[in-house]
Symmetry: D2
Subunit: 125 residues, 4 copies
């Protein structure tokens, strides 16, 4: 544990488990607000998914990040036939580990909510 | 409680307290990744602070949001003499309330870390 | 003219008029890609419009910036009843001046295109 | 030429050459303001460069896009040892073609300006 890790830890007024959940929330906000707006069609989706995953992996305490983008759009017919990335197009699963706690958080468009919900799907142990 | 609130609640596999902490993390990630990069000098700081606060207030479960930006820059001498907003310039305090739980999260540049740390500073009760 | 202005000018392989048009394009890209994704409902629209205008005014060579956001959304019924800013919601008019050339550029959602078009609406003289 | 192309073209009050320069400016603003803020260390730079290039290629009239990111940072020592992408770290070259006009625009950090300048480096013919 570096001295910076120790200093950071001191700032938190919550349990290790709650801190891991907080970190998971940060990553969800990052995926959404850093990348929503990116020009997208079928040609750049794989590169964009990979770049988002790798960028999230750079943030502290991330064990894994999986991102899938679905743009529900066919062939391009002209120059204007592409989209800007929206939250509803993103499916993400991010795992955070702080010491012994592993938190899984997800972002998923839920039709019943008509909203791309970010939620905690698991905390272990 | 709307049917959407209920549906959303069902998705969470954690306590109310943990959910409130997660929501606080999302807001921190939003402030950082939505607004970092914005052109800034002393002329637009008040408007930018207010817009960030109001935008965060729009997100679910936010009770209050305070944002201060400090750019450590004097008079403009020419067209290129401004900055792009960076995390280190932002101080933020956001309060989240879910039912009876109130979480306070902060973003603050800490010199010892040389890093704009996001942390949970209080959970009540 | 500062030495930085001179150095910058040297880098351009085009006319003053073309440079002014280029600068206008940068500002349009900034409005869109910096702010799309921002949480919005009727409560924060005025603050957001103002912050975008002021931020664009900070960039080089901007004489004026007018931004209007229309979100076509009524009363909020629950926590999820807000939008993320999209290009289609933004109307913007930006004026750039380099020496004697004034360029007006606009961003506007055009129904016939189903696309938020950025275009040059005037160059004077 | 699609009917949307024609409608878009009608909106422009400038020459084909000026329109190509304007489009180049938009792309520069997109690269900067969409991606500045992204978490970065040596592990995700290649994926991020590629995603930016491919995303810009999705926008109208882009013939080619080359992006290089340099973060001047060694080995990671702890969780906080990474950067947020800044304009100064980005080198980009984008080529726009509208009919017979090809515009090359570049973004490059210039030490003499201490600024990541976006400029038009060539217009052909």
């Amino acid at each position: 544990m570096s001295s910076r890790d120790r200093k950071a830890e001191e700032m938190f007024r919550c349990s290790e488990r709650e801190r891991a959940v907080f970190e998971a929330g940060i990553k969800m906000g990052t995926i959404y607000h850093q990348f929503v707006g990116t020009p997208a069609d079928t040609s750049n989706i794989p590169a964009l998914e990979k770049a988002i995953e790798r960028s999230i992996m750079v943030q502290p305490f991330v064990v894994s990040a999986e991102v899938r983008i679905e743009i529900r759009r066919g062939e391009r017919k002209d120059a204007y036939d592409y989209v800007s990335l929206r939250g509803e197009m993103i499916d993400a699963v991010v795992k955070i580990r702080i010491k012994d706690t592993i938190v899984t958080a997800e972002m998923r468009y839920l039709e019943e909510l008509d909203y791309p919900l970010m939620y905690v799907s698991d905390i272990s142990p």
